[in-house]
C-alpha cells in the first residue's frame, strides 16, 4: 500500500497497532483526542482493546497493570493529563516495566490553552513524577517521524524495561501529512517470563514474579536505583538521535531546536542561506538522552560565535544547551509559549539581530 494522508493523532494511533500493540487506554483531552477517537474505531477491527479510563490518574495505573502483566500497552494525552499520570509513570519506572506514553503538548501551566507548546520539556526529560527515574524521550518533527518513533518506542521500552515518551506538540497532533508505516519497524514483543506477572501456567519456570516499586530495605532501594542509573547511562551511550542541518557550512550561529519549532527554523535557515547568511542547526530527536556531544562539537566549530536555543517554552531546553556547549560560545534563548508558533520571519530577525 502506498502513502495515505493522516492527521498526526490518527497516525500515532495506527503506528501503535502496526507496532503490535493491542492495548490502548486513554482519556480525551485537546489537542490529542483524535488518537482515542481513531483507536475506538480501529482497535476492535484488529482484535485489540480500547478502554477509556475515568481519569488520567486511572489510565496511568491501567497502563502499569497491563505492562506488569507483560502486555504491550500505550496511552496518549496532553500536558495536564500527563501531569495526572506522572505518579504512575514514576511507579512504572521504579518497577521496571515497559510502556509507551505520548504527550501532545499544549500551553501551560495549569489549564493553559489548547494550542501547540513545548513547555513540558522539564516534565518529560527531568522528572514529572518523583524519584530518580528518567524517560527515554523522542521528539518527532513530522507526522512520518511520529509514526516511526512510536513504532520504535515499544522495542526500546522493552529493551530497557522503562517507559518511553513521545513528546510532540499540538501541531504534530493536528496537522496532516502523507505517511507510510515501515515494515522494518515492526517488532515482536520481547520474552517477559523472567519478570512479568504473566501467569504461572503460561511459562515453564515456576519462579513467582513480583512487580513492585516498594523497597523498604534502604540497601535494596539503593540497589534498585543503581540498576535504573545503569540503564539511563546505557541509554546515553546507545540511544542518542539527532539531525544536523546545514552544519557543513561556515555558520556563525548554531540553532538547537526540536519538533515543530525545528521545522520553522529549517525554513528560516533556508531563507537566510538565500540571503548569504549561514546558520547551522542540531535537531535533537531524543531529548533524553540529549545529543550532548553533537551540540558540543557543533558549537566548537571555529566559525560559530553563538548558539541559540529556540523552543516553544520559556527557556527549558536552553539549560541543556548551555551545559553541552560548555562555554565554547555564548548561548541565548528565543521562544514563545502561549500557543503561537514563531514564524520563519521572526526567527530570521532573531538571527540577524544577533549577527549585527
Amino acid at each position: 500500500m502506498g502513502k495515505i494522508l493522516m492527521k498526526g493523532n490518527e497516525a500515532i494511533g495506527e503506528a501503535g497497532i502496526r507496532a503490535g500493540c493491542l492495548n490502548y487506554f486513554a482519556y480525551p483531552i485537546t489537542p490529542q483526542s483524535e488518537v482515542a477517537e481513531y483507536l475506538s474505531h480501529r482497535m476492535p477491527e484488529v482484535g485489540g482493546v480500547f478502554l477509556q479510563g475515568e481519569s488520567e490518574v486511572a489510565v496511568g495505573y491501567m497502563i502499569f497493570g497491563a505492562a506488569a502483566c507483560g502486555e504491550r500497552v500505550f496511552t496518549t494525552s496532553s500536558s495536564p493529563g500527563i501531569s495526572l499520570m506522572s505518579e504512575a509513570i514514576s511507579y512504572i519506572a521504579g518497577a521496571q516495566c515497559p510502556a509507551v506514553f505520548v504527550n501532545i503538548m499544549r500551553g501551560g501551566p495549569g489549564l493553559g490553552g489548547i494550542l501547540p507548546s513545548q513547555a513540558d520539556y522539564f516534565q518529560a526529560t527531568k522528572g514529572g513524577g518523583h524519584g530518580d527515574y528518567r524517560l527515554l524521550v523522542m521528539a518527532p518533527a513530522s507526522v512520518q517521524e511520529a509514526v516511526e518513533m512510536v513504532m520504535m518506542a515499544f522495542p526500546l521500552a522493552e529493551k530497557y524495561r522503562n517507559p518511553v515518551m513521545i513528546l510532540g506538540d499540538g501541531l504534530i497532533g493536528q496537522m496532516m501529512e502523507p505517511v507510510e508505516f515501515p515494515e522494518n519497524l515492526k517488532s515482536e514483543p520481547s520474552k517477559k517470563d523472567d519478570w512479568a506477572t504473566n501467569g504461572m501456567d503460561t511459562r515453564k519456570s515456576k519462579k513467582r514474579n513480583l512487580v513492585k516499586s516498594l523497597f523498604l530495605d534502604p540497601v535494596k532501594l539503593n540497589e534498585n536505583n543503581l540498576i535504573l542509573k545503569e540503564k539511563y547511562e546505557r541509554m546515553k551511550r546507545e540511544e542518542v538521535r539527532f539531525e544536523p542541518y546545514n552544519t557543513d557550512s561556515d555558520y556563525r550561529i548554531l540553532i538547537v531546536s526540536y519538533g515543530t519549532m525545528s521545522r520553522v527554523c529549517r525554513t528560516a535557515i533556508d531563507n537566510l542561506k538565500a540571503e548569504g547568511i549561514d546558520v547551522g542547526m542540531i535537531r535533537p530527536q531524543t531529548l533524553f538522552p540529549f545529543p550532548e556531544d553533537a551540540v558540543f562539537q557543533a558549537a566548537s566549530k571555529k566559525s560559530c560565535g553563538m548558539a541559540l536555543s529556540i523552543e516553544m517554552s520559556m527557556g527549558q531546553m536552553v539549560e541543556d544547551v548551555e551545559r553541552c556547549v560548555h562555554g565554547k560560545c555564548p548561548v541565548k534563548w528565543y521562544g514563545k509559549c502561549g500557543g503561537e508558533v514563531p514564524t520563519p520571519e521572526e526567527i530570521m530577525d532573531v538571527v540577524r539581530s544577533n549577527l549585527s
Partner: protein
C-alpha cells in the same frame, strides 16, 4: 466546465477530508465569477486549521465570513453564533456552510433545522480516498449514513478531493477521480466537482474528467509554509 453552484451549500465529510480548504476556494471561485458569496465556519469540533486562517484574504475579496466571536476563537467550546441562522434566513446567492468533521461535526446541523426549514439546500460530502475510513466505497457509504443520521439531513452530492497535500501526483488525481466516479455510480449521487492543486493544474489533462474541476490554492498551511495567494 464551470462550477455553477448557487443557494445554500453545506460541506460535510470526515475529519481532514478537506472541507475548509474547499469552502474557502469554492467561495473565491464563485465570487470571481461575479456572484455574491458568504461562508460560515460552523466547525464546532476542532480549533486547529480553520477557515478563520484565511479571513483577511476573503474579506479583501468581499466575501462575507461568519466565525465565532474573536475572544472565543481559540477555545474548544461548541459556540454556534446566531449569525449563522441569520445568514441562512437571508442567504447570499451562494452561502457555504463549512461543517466540522464526521458525524460529531455534522450534529450541529440539527441545531440549525429551524433556520433551514423550508429552504432548499445541497449537502455535499467531501471524499479523499487517500484518507483512512473513506478509502473504500463501503467506507464512504458508512460515513454518509452516519453524517445523515447525525444531521437529520440528506447528502445530495459528492466532491472528489483526492490528495496527499505536497506529495500529490498526477496519478493521485486520476486514481482519485476514478474512485469518486465509482462512488457516484454506486450511490447515484452526482459528482459535483473534483479538486486539483494549483501546483498541478497545468500537468493535468482536464479532458479526462466529465465534471467541473476546482483549482485549489492551499490556505491551511503549517507555520513554516506560506498560504497561496487567492
Amino acid at each position: 466546465m464551470d462550477i455553477l453552484l448557487e443557494g445554500i451549500v453545506i460541506i460535510v465529510g470526515n475529519y481532514g477530508s478537506g472541507k475548509t480548504e474547499i469552502s474557502i476556494n469554492l467561495a473565491v471561485n464563485r465570487k470571481l465569477a461575479g456572484i455574491d458569496v458568504s461562508v460560515a465556519d460552523i466547525d464546532l469540533v476542532n480549533p486547529y486549521f480553520r477557515a478563520r486562517e484565511a479571513r483577511r484574504q476573503l474579506a479583501e475579496l468581499g466575501i462575507g465570513i461568519i466565525l465565532p466571536p474573536d475572544k472565543y476563537l481559540q477555545a474548544d467550546l461548541p459556540i454556534l453564533t446566531p449569525a449563522v441562522a441569520g445568514l441562512i434566513r437571508k442567504p447570499s446567492r451562494l452561502t457555504i456552510l463549512d461543517v466540522g468533521g464526521d458525524k460529531v461535526g455534522a450534529t450541529v446541523l440539527s441545531a440549525l433545522a429551524d433556520a433551514l426549514d423550508g429552504k432548499s439546500y445541497r449537502m455535499l460530502q467531501v471524499i479523499n480516498p487517500f484518507r483512512p475510513f473513506t478509502d473504500t466505497v463501503k467506507g464512504c457509504m458508512k460515513m454518509k449514513n452516519e453524517i445523515e443520521k447525525a444531521s437529520r439531513m440528506s447528502i445530495s452530492g459528492i466532491i472528489g478531493n483526492a490528495n496527499l497535500i505536497d506529495e500529490t501526483t498526477v496519478d493521485v488525481i486520476y486514481e482519485g477521480y476514478a474512485f469518486v466516479s465509482k462512488v457516484s455510480g454506486e450511490t447515484g449521487l452526482p459528482l459535483e466537482f473534483i479538486t486539483v492543486s494549483s501546483r498541478l493544474s497545468d500537468k493535468i489533462d482536464m479532458k479526462r474528467f466529465s465534471c467541473p474541476v476546482l483549482e485549489l490554492h492551499r490556505q491551511l498551511v503549517p507555520p513554516w509554509k506560506k498560504a497561496a495567494a487567492l
